[in-house]
Point group: C2
Amino acid sequence: MTETLTAPLSQEELRVLDAYWRAANYLSVGQIYLLDNPLLREPLRREHIKSRLLGHWGTTPGLNFLYAHLNRVIRDRHLTMMNVIGPGHGGPAMLANTWLEGSYTSANPGVPRDEHGMRELFRQFSFPGGVPSHVAPEVPGSIHEGGELGYSLAHAYGAAFDNPDLVVACVVGDGEAETGPLATSWHANKFLNPAHDGAVLPILHLNGYKIANPTVLARIPQDELDALLRGYGYAPHYVTGSDPGQMHQDMAATLDAVLDEIDAIQQRARSGDHRRPRWPMIVLRSPKGWTGPAEVDGVPVTGTWRAHQVPLAGVRDVPEHLAMLEEWLRSYRPEELFDEHGQPVAELLAQVPDGGARMGANPHANGGLLLKPLQLPDFRAYAVDVEKHGATVSEPTRVLGRFLREVTRDNSTSFRIFGPDETASNRLDAVYEVTDKQWEAEVLPVDEHLGPEGRVVEVLSEHLCQGWLEGYLLTGRHGLFSCYEAFIHIVDSMFNQHAKWLKSSKKLPWRRPVASLNYLLTSHVWRQDHNGFSHQDPGFIDHVMNKKAEVTRVYLPPDTNTLLSVGDHCLRSRDYVNVIVAGKNDSPDWLPMDEAVLHATRGAGIWDWAGNEQGSDINTEPDVVLACAGDAPTLEVMAATAILREHLPDLTVRVVNVVDLMRLQPQTEHPHGMTDAEFDALFTTDKPVLFAYHGYPWLIHRLTYRRHNHHNIHVRGYKEEGTTTTPFDMLVINDMDRFRLVMDVLDQVPGLGARTALLRQRMVDLRARHHVWTREHGEDLPEVRDWVWPF
Amino acid sequence: MTETLTAPLSQEELRVLDAYWRAANYLSVGQIYLLDNPLLREPLRREHIKSRLLGHWGTTPGLNFLYAHLNRVIRDRHLTMMNVIGPGHGGPAMLANTWLEGSYTSANPGVPRDEHGMRELFRQFSFPGGVPSHVAPEVPGSIHEGGELGYSLAHAYGAAFDNPDLVVACVVGDGEAETGPLATSWHANKFLNPAHDGAVLPILHLNGYKIANPTVLARIPQDELDALLRGYGYAPHYVTGSDPGQMHQDMAATLDAVLDEIDAIQQRARSGDHRRPRWPMIVLRSPKGWTGPAEVDGVPVTGTWRAHQVPLAGVRDVPEHLAMLEEWLRSYRPEELFDEHGQPVAELLAQVPDGGARMGANPHANGGLLLKPLQLPDFRAYAVDVEKHGATVSEPTRVLGRFLREVTRDNSTSFRIFGPDETASNRLDAVYEVTDKQWEAEVLPVDEHLGPEGRVVEVLSEHLCQGWLEGYLLTGRHGLFSCYEAFIHIVDSMFNQHAKWLKSSKKLPWRRPVASLNYLLTSHVWRQDHNGFSHQDPGFIDHVMNKKAEVTRVYLPPDTNTLLSVGDHCLRSRDYVNVIVAGKNDSPDWLPMDEAVLHATRGAGIWDWAGNEQGSDINTEPDVVLACAGDAPTLEVMAATAILREHLPDLTVRVVNVVDLMRLQPQTEHPHGMTDAEFDALFTTDKPVLFAYHGYPWLIHRLTYRRHNHHNIHVRGYKEEGTTTTPFDMLVINDMDRFRLVMDVLDQVPGLGARTALLRQRMVDLRARHHVWTREHGEDLPEVRDWVWPF
C-alpha cells in the first residue's frame, strides 16, 4: 500500500519547511507550559512554568506538519484554501501557525509577532481570561469548534458548496472518526458538484490513540482501511512514518498528487463531464505526540495515548521533568527560528502565503466578511386571501414553499435548503419547480427532481444537514433546515455548539455577523397521525431556551400569513438561531396579511375580533384570558372561545396569541421580553389565564414565573401522552382540547360554578362522544373536523 | 458479485415458504386498508376500508420475506434468534408474522388467531386506541422502536453481548444506513467476542428508496458498496432480484452459508483461536413495495419511493383503486392460506418454530423475563471515613469506581460499563483491576487494559454506547453509561426514544420490568478547566425532566458517600432512566455514611449541623434558607454559610441540600414529589431562599412554581457563561460563588441593609481580588482553594 514517491523537495526547500514545522511545534509547546522566558533566553526555571498545565500536545505536531505543507501548496498553486481541524484539541497548533503567519496578530493586535507577543501567546493559552485550548471562534481561520467531535467533515463540505474556487482541507481525527456523524459524513462526496462547488480534501490523521484508548481505524488491517475509504468513494493516498525528512518528501509529493487529481476532476466536470469523480484523500499515519519526549518516568509517551494531553506533568515539581522540557523545547532550535526580537526569521516568513491567502486570514472563514443580503421577494405577494378571520384554510408550509421557491431561484449560489428526506413531506415541494435535489450518485429514469445542480440537499442524516448548513452559513451564505419536529433533537448537541459559537463570536470584534441558522420544524407533535408516540416531541424549544437570549429566537406562527411574515424576518436576521414551528396540514387562515405582519412584529397580542370585549368599556378587564401559542392550540382556543361566547354571552373573554415565545420573558432576561406593564396589559394582573401551548406546559411557567399574574396562569400543553390516533384525539388525551379548555374556564372564573353545570356536562359528553366515535370510525368527530370560526 | 448459489429448497419447501410469505403479505396489506371483511368472503366494498389510510407498505414485503426465511433456519438449526427491525415502518410485517406464529395472540388474547382476530388485527393497526404503525413496544419480539432511525445495529450488538447462544438478525434499512449512528454501528464487530458473545447477522435491506429519495447505498456502484462493507470488516453476501422463486432459493442458500460461517467462527473462537473473525452479513436487494401494485394512475409504484406508504391512496373514493386493492389482496390467494375459521392452514403453522423459539416469543426480547438482580456488595464498605463534616476531601467517582469494580467482578456476564473513551478520565479506573476494555482489533505491547473479555466497552461514540446499553438492558441485563456531562446531549433523542419505550412498555402487562438505564454524568460543567465553553452544558437534566415522571429520576449527590448510596439505589431500580451527576475532583466529604444513606433516602433535607438553628427554639423559622443541589453549589453554599455565621452570628441560617431533584416537584407531578407541608417545612413559607443549583437556574423555578414560598426563591446556577478558566472563576462569572451568595443574602433578608455595608464591601473586594489573582497566577485565590468547613 505504500506509494512510490518521488522527492519533490530540494534539500533547501526541505530544510526551511522543516524549520517552519519546528517553529510551530516550539510555539505549541510554549503555549502549554510557559508563563515567561518565551525565547529561552535564560535557563528554564520553575517560575517560568504555568501553575496549572492544561492543554493537548498529542495531535498538535501532526496539525503543524500539515499546516506547513498546506502553506507550500497554497503558495505554489495560488490556492484559496481553508483548513478545518477535526481533532478537538488542536488549539495550540492553529494558534501557533496563525501567529507565525501574522493573521493572529491582525485579529488580535494585543498579541504582536515579537517576543512580547510570543510571551502573551503562551501565557493566554488555557489561562483565565485567555483563550480556549480548542480550535474555537477565537482562532482566526476556523469555522469549526474542536470541542465536541464529529462535525469537521460536514462543516468542510458545507463550506465548499457553491464556492467553486475554494479547497477545504479537513483534518479528521481518528478518534473523531469513530463518531456517528463523522462516519456518515464521508458520504458527503455524493452531494458535492465538482463543477459548481469547491473541493474538500479530507486528511485522516491516524495517530493511533484517543484519550485513553487506541482508535478503531488505526487498529484494523491496512486492506480493511483501504477498502473502507474506497467504499466511501475516495481514492486514498497514504503518508506513513515518523522520520521527518522522509515524511516531508512523502507529504509534499502526496499533496502535489492529490491537488493534481482535484484539478483534473474539476477541469473534467467543468467541461461538461458529469460522471461522479473519485475524490482523493490523504491518510497521515504519524506518531501521537511526534517530536515530543519519547519516554517519561520509564514509560513510553510519544506514539501512545500518554501523549494526549501534557506529556510532562510534573514540570514545576520534578527537576528532571523541567530539564526534559527545556531539552524538548531546545530540540526545535528556537535560536534559528526567531530573531533577537522574537520575530520569525525571514526564511520562515517567506513560506507564509500572501494576505488573504493565509489560512488564518481567508475571508471564507470569517463568512460575515463575504455575506450579502438575500434577494427576497415581497412575501406579501404569497399571502392567502383572508376576507373573514378563520373562514378559509390553507397549508402553511405549502404556501411558505412558494415563497422559498422564489428565494431559491433568486439566490442561486447563496441559499440552500437542507433536510433529512422530508422536504416534500413537509410540503415545501414548490421549490422543485425551480430546482432539484442535489445528487451526484446514480439517477434512474423513474427518479424525479434529482440533479447535480440542486439547491435542496437531502440525506437521511440530521447530523449532516445541520453540519452542512453550519459550514454554509459560517462561510457567508444563507439557508434553512426543514425537519420533523421530534427528530431535531438528534442535533441538540450540534445546536448547543453552534449557539456557543455564535455567542463567543459576537464578542470578537473581528468576526463579522453571519446569517442566522433557521430551523423550520413541522410535521409537529399534534399531527403525527400515522407515526405516533415516537414522533411526538416538542422539547427542542425547551432545549433552545437554555442558550443565551442574545442568540436564540423561537416563533410559533398561528397561521399561513403569519408564517410568511416570520419566515421573511428570519431570513433577514443575523447571528441568531431561529426556531420556527409551523404546521403543514390545512388550518384556518386567521389573519389577513396586514394583520399578520402587525401580529408577527409585535410578537404577541390581543385578537380583539375573537374575544367579546369590543362592546365593553375600554378600561375594564375581561373575565378570562384565553391565550395560545402554536397552530393547534390556537384552533382549540378559538373553538373554546366560540363555545363560551355562544353559551355564556355575558362572560367577557379575551384571546391572546403569542407568536414570539421570548416576548413572555421579562425584558431583563431577553431583548424581546415584554415589560411588566405590557405583560399586564395583555394578561391582566388578576384574571384567570388559560394558556394552550404547543409544547411541554412547564415552559410557559418558566417564562412567566416572575409576572404579577403568574399564579393565575393555567397551562395546557403536550404532557407526553401520545399514540397513533386522530388529531383531535391527541388534544383530548393531553387535555388541550376545546371542551377541556371550556371546563378549565368554568373551573377558574370565580362564580361560574352552579349556573354552568349543564354546559360542563355538555363538554364532558362531547369528550365521551368523541372517544366512542373515534374508536369506531377511526376519524375525528365530524362536528370537530368541520368546525369553522362562527363569528 | 452475484454468487453462485445452489437451490437448497425442494419444490415443496419452496411452495410452503412462499405461501407463508404470501400470508404475511396478505395480513400486512389487510392491516393498512381493511376495517372489515378480512378474509374477502364478499367483494370488497367502500365500507370495508378504513377512512384514514395510515401505514407503510414499502419495506414490509422484504421484512416478511426475511421473517419466513429466518423461521426456516431457526427450525432447521434449532437457533435462538432475535430479529431487530431497523426500517422504521415495518410494523405491519412484524404484527403479521407474530400473529401467524401465535406469539401475538399469547401476548394479546384479544386478538386471537382466527377470523375474529384477523379482523381485530387489521382494525387496530394505525387506528385510534389501536397499535402504532412502527415496530414499537407493543410488538412481541421487538427490543427496537422503528420510529427514529439509526439504532438497530447498536441494539442488536447490545443484545448479543454475553449471550453466546443467541443469534441476532438485524435488518438495516438503506435509509437508516445514511444516519450517523448507523454508519458507525457497523464497527461494533470490533467489540464483539465470538467466544463469549452471541452473533449479529446484519441484513442490509437495499430497497432503494426512502420517503421521497433514492438511498445513497443503493446508488453507488456495486464494487464501492462491497468495498465499504468489507472495509467495515464484514464478508457480504448478496441476494438480489425480484422473482420470488429465485429469491427464495437464493436467500435460503445464503442463510445456510452465513449461518455455517457464524458456526465456524464461533467454534474456532471457542476452541481458543483469538483472531478477529470476518463476520458474514447479507445484502438483500429487492424492490420497494415488492408484490404490490406495479403502477397506479399511470405512474410506476413498486420499486419506487411511491411505494413507501400507501400505494393506493384513493381506495375509498376511486372505484378503480378499490378494484386494484381487491386484486392485490387476492393475488396472495388467501383461500389457500387460511381455513374457514380464518386460522392459518396447517402447512403454514408447520413452518413456525416451537414455543420460545418463535422470534415473537423469544424471552431475550422481553428481557425482564430473564432479568436477575445484580449481586451487589455492601456499598457502605467503600465509604470514606468522615469524622467531622467536611474536614476531608475525596474524589467521588474514584471511590464509586471501587464499588463498581466489585459489581463488575461479581456479575461477570450481566453487568457492563459503557463510555466514550472516558472511563479513566472519569476516574472509574479501579474497574481495570478486575477487567479490561473490550477490544477485538489489534493490540500492541504498549497498550493497557485491552482485551477480548473486557466488561468496559469504550468507543468514541456516545450513540454506540447508548445503543449498546439499551440493547443490553432490554435483553435483561444491567449497565451504566459514564459520560462527560456536556456530551450526553449527543444522545438526547435516543434518551427520548428509550424513555418513550419504557413508558409504553409499562402499560403492557406481558412486558416485564427491565433494569434502569443509569447515566453517570461527570467531568461536569463546573470542572472543565482545560476544555472550556464547549464542554459546559448541564442541560441534559432539563431535557430528561420533560419525559414522564414515572420513568425519570435525577440525582445530584453532594459528596462521595451520598454518591455511593445513590449508585447502589440506581443499580437496584427497574424501568427508570436514572441520571446521576457527580464530580470527579477532590471535594469535601460532608456526610458520614450513615448520614449519607439517610440523606439520599429522604432525597432532600436540612443539614442542621451546617446552619445555626440548633440553639433556636424548634418552633421558630430561620432568617434565611441557603439551598443547594450539586457538588459545586453545595461547597459554595457551605462557604457562604460559614461567612454568614462568622460575620452575622445572630442571623439564623438554614442549609438545605437536595439530592433527588424530583423531590422539589409537587407530589401530584412526580411520585417523589414532596407534599406542600413537607416542602414548607424545609423551605419555610415566607423566608428568603437562596438556591445554588448545579444547572440552568430556571429548572428550579419550573419545579417549584406552585410552592407557597416560590416568590421568595432566588436561584443561582449556570447561565451559559464559561470559558477555559479556574473552577472558582467559573462560579464567579456565573454569579454562583460564595461571595455573591452572601451578597444575595444581604439583599434578600429584610432589615440587613445598612449594618452590613462593610460585609458587602468585603465580598465585593474578594471577588475583585480573585479576579486579579486568577488572571495573574492562573489559579484560584489560595484562601478559596484551601478553604475548609470551619465548624
